[in-house]
């Protein structure tokens, strides 16, 4: 009688541990696949960052900024800083201009990365 009970218990344990092992296996494989996707996504995001950085650097290249300053001289009146522009704070005439609110509705995404969630 006790022997039969022992057999039953053993069989049950084999079944349970087998189930557990397979379950773990599948979970691991799942996790690996997820890591793979995430890695790809990270790589894509990195690439996007690199592109945006390059673009930012390109847009901020000194020759372009200088051209923009010259084009917008009437509005901005930006000049090169020269030594005679240094003065004590009390000599500075702070401009009394209202800065218009920038209209930033409908922003456009500049990255072609799609949302994967």
């Amino acid at each position: 009688m006790t022997r039969i009970l022992l057999y039953v218990v053993c069989c049950a344990m084999v079944l349970v541990t087998g189930y557990w092992a397979y379950e773990e296996n599948y979970e691991t494989q799942d996790a690996q696949r997820r890591v793979e996707t995430l890695k790809k996504e990270i790589e894509q995001q990195r690439e996007a960052i690199r592109v945006l950085q390059a673009e930012w650097a390109f847009l901020n290249r000194p020759s372009r900024l200088r051209a923009l300053v010259e084009m917008n001289f009437n509005d901005l009146e930006l000049l090169e800083i020269l030594p005679q522009h240094y003065a004590d704070v009390e000599f500075v005439a702070f401009p009394q201009i209202e800065v218009p609110q920038l209209d930033l509705n409908n922003p456009v995404s500049v990255s072609e990365q799609e949302d994967q969630n």
Binding site: Q32, V35, E36, K39, E47, R50, V51, Q53, A54, W56, A57, F58, N60, R61, P62, S63, R66, E80, I81, L82, P83, Q84, H85, Y86, A87, E90, F91, V92, A93, F94, Q96
Partner: protein, 594 residues
């Protein structure tokens, strides 16, 4: 020998005794059975042993594997994917403030599989329309020929890629390509150098530097371990841009063939900006051509590759020796009667400065005769030793591939005449970068400076070349050259510029020197009371009409350009003018509002 079951002898014997012979048979049978059983047991035992060993091996393997897994750290099985042999990744290069100077951009390359093409001729015509540089007839010949694989373009922009997609030809395929991009165009072109594709495959192409820091740090930039860490240069992008603009304007105004300038930190040797004009765009680096005069190529870096006789800028080293060796003070009088004859050689001054001048005034008026006499007094040995310490005997140790190949030109035999001519910068030729480094070492308190293009986080002062007092006396002389001497146009109020001019006649390749072609150089240090920066400006063959005369000397050409550079660059570096030293100050035009 097999024994029978019923051995005749024993049967007969048994029958005689009246025993049952069947017993004998049974006895014999039992004996045989016993032998067979022993044999069977032995066989079974050996089988069990083999089976046991087999199980032991199998479980042992499992145990070893489990033990191994338990002892080693966790590892991602996905990370062991095979890495492509050709990697196109390359670390970016940034300036000292993190602004991007060079980076990689993912683009496409275009290749063709003619055997997969449906309409090869139409595809060739379409490509010729999209890329005007491609030859239509050659493409048709390629696409209808027997080749299976043809590179069409190494890099394709997204717009071009879309246009190729619209051709709808399945035989035209795209690979990935990293493009080395220099977003600032020609800015700092000679420092960055340029890059080209090395080994290529469909999926990637290796990027190799061909000049400048790109070549010098090729291994570092392509090292997979440091791909995410940009290479930080000591260059300041804004200052570099302003320098190139001002220098370009100055070069045009002075009608010079070329120009070079270097702004260096006087203590750390960091090169904040270095320009050489004319320049080029490293995004489309022109092919190197073999010219008789390499300096005619825009690829030529005049600041680090151009070896020039730098003229009177060298006089400060003669004064340094005189002071350092205790042969005089700035007030010691030097015989300046001329012309100075030595054998067949005559040394003249620009004009007669009278019978004698103090060491200080020899520098201020730039007297060749006075300098030559000072150099003769200290001797060739001391002169060579100082110039060697300051780096004039070796290629300049800056991180540029081409600089390490540029050997300064020294007198073949260091005679007394060489000693005299070298003292005022003739008969010895070095790069402007050599000069900047030496001026930094001489004026910063006498500590040797190593020029570098890499941002320095901490620097240890180099070996001492001069005593700090000597260095201070030299700075006072350089300052006087600007306030009272040949470089009076170099004054920028508030920055206490000190410097020394040098105008050397250009050597004629056919022998002798040109009468009307000079290299005008101005080496300056500021603020001269506590030097922070050293700047060298060199103009190649400048000439300008001023006051009805054609002026070529540095005082009229390189010095005004240098003054403009100081005025533009110092505010960009956040250096306020020292109002106290400037005296009367002009403020901005804006009036305070009430």
């Amino acid at each position: 020998m097999r024994t029978p079951l019923r051995p005749l002898a024993r049967i007969i014997d048994a029958r005689e005794k009246g025993e049952n012979p069947d017993h004998i048979e049974a006895e014999e049978r039992a004996k045989r059975n016993h032998v067979r059983q022993v044999r069977l047991r032995q066989r079974a035992e050996s089988r069990l042993l083999v089976l046991g060993l087999f199980f032991l091996a199998a479980f042992g393997t499992v145990a070893v594997k489990m033990g191994g897994l338990a002892m080693t750290g966790p590892q991602d099985p996905g990370a062991r994917q095979t890495v492509s042999a050709i990697s196109s990744a390359r670390a970016p290069i940034v300036d000292r403030n993190g602004a991007v100077l060079a980076t990689n951009l993912l683009t496409s390359s275009l290749y063709a599989h003619p055997h997969e093409m449906i309409e090869p001729v139409k595809a060739a015509e379409g490509l010729a329309r999209i890329f005007p540089t491609l030859d239509r007839d050659k493409l048709i010949a390629d696409f209808t020929g027997t080749r299976k694989f043809i590179w069409v373009r190494k890099t394709v922009s997204p717009e071009e890629r879309q246009a190729v997609h619209e051709l709808g030809e399945p035989g035209l395929l795209f690979g990935t390509r990293d493009l080395r991009l220099y977003p600032n165009g020609a800015l700092a072109a000679h420092i960055l150098g340029g890059a080209k594709f090395g080994e290529e495959s469909v999926h990637a192409a290796e990027i190799l530097g061909v000049a400048g820091v790109e070549q010098r740090f090729n291994a570092r930039l392509n090292d997979p371990d440091t791909l995410d860490t940009p290479l930080e240069l000591s260059i300041d992008l804004t200052v570099q841009a302003a320098m190139e603009q001002v220098l370009g304007t100055g070069m045009r105004l002075m009608q010079a063939r070329g120009a070079a300038s270097i702004l260096m930190d006087a203590h750390t040797g960091e090169i904040i900006a270095m320009a050489s004009l004319p320049d080029f765009d490293p995004n489309q680096r022109p092919a190197a051509i073999n010219l008789a005069d390499p300096s005619e190529s825009p690829l030529f870096n005049r600041a680090a590759q151009g070896v020039y006789e730098l003229g009177s800028t060298f006089k400060i080293f003669a004064a340094a020796n005189t002071l350092e060796l205790g042969q005089g003070t700035p007030e010691t009088m030097i015989d300046t009667r001329g012309p100075l004859k030595y054998g067949q050689f005559t040394i003249k001054d620009f004009k007669d400065y009278g019978p004698k001048l103090s060491v200080h005034d020899v520098m201020v008026h730039s007297s060749n005769i006075g300098t030559a006499r000072m150099a003769l007094a200290t001797g060739a040995g001391a002169q060579q030793e100082l110039l060697k310490k300051l780096g004039f005997f070796e290629p300049v140790p800056v991180e540029l591939a081409e600089a390490s190949l540029t050997q300064p030109l020294l007198p073949p035999r260091w005679s007394d005449i060489s000693t005299m001519t070298v003292s005022y910068g003739h008969g010895i030729a070095a790069t402007p970068l050599h000069l900047a480094t030496a001026y930094a070492s001489v004026t910063n308190g006498g500590f040797l400076v190593t020029p570098t293009l890499l941002k320095q986080t901490e620097t240890t002062p180099g070996a001492s070349v001069l005593r700090p007092e000597t260095s201070a006396q030299l700075r006072a002389m350089l300052r006087a050259v600007v306030t009272d001497g040949t470089a009076s146009f170099g004054e920028v109020r508030g920055y206490e510029v000190g410097g020394k001019t040098g105008s050397a006649d250009k050597p004629n390749p056919d022998g002798g020197y040109f009468e009307d072609k000079v290299i005008a150089t101005f080496a300056s240090v500021f603020p001269s009371s506590d030097p922070k920066y050293v700047m060298v400006v060199t103009l190649d063959e400048p000439s300008i009409e001023i006051l009805g005369e054609t002026r070529r000397t540095a005082g009229w050409t390189a010095v005004p350009v240098s003054a403009e550079l100081v005025a533009r660059l110092m505010p960009l570096l956040g250096e306020r003018p020292n109002i106290a030293s400037a005296g009367n100050v002009q403020y901005t035009g804006a009036k305070p509002q009430q």
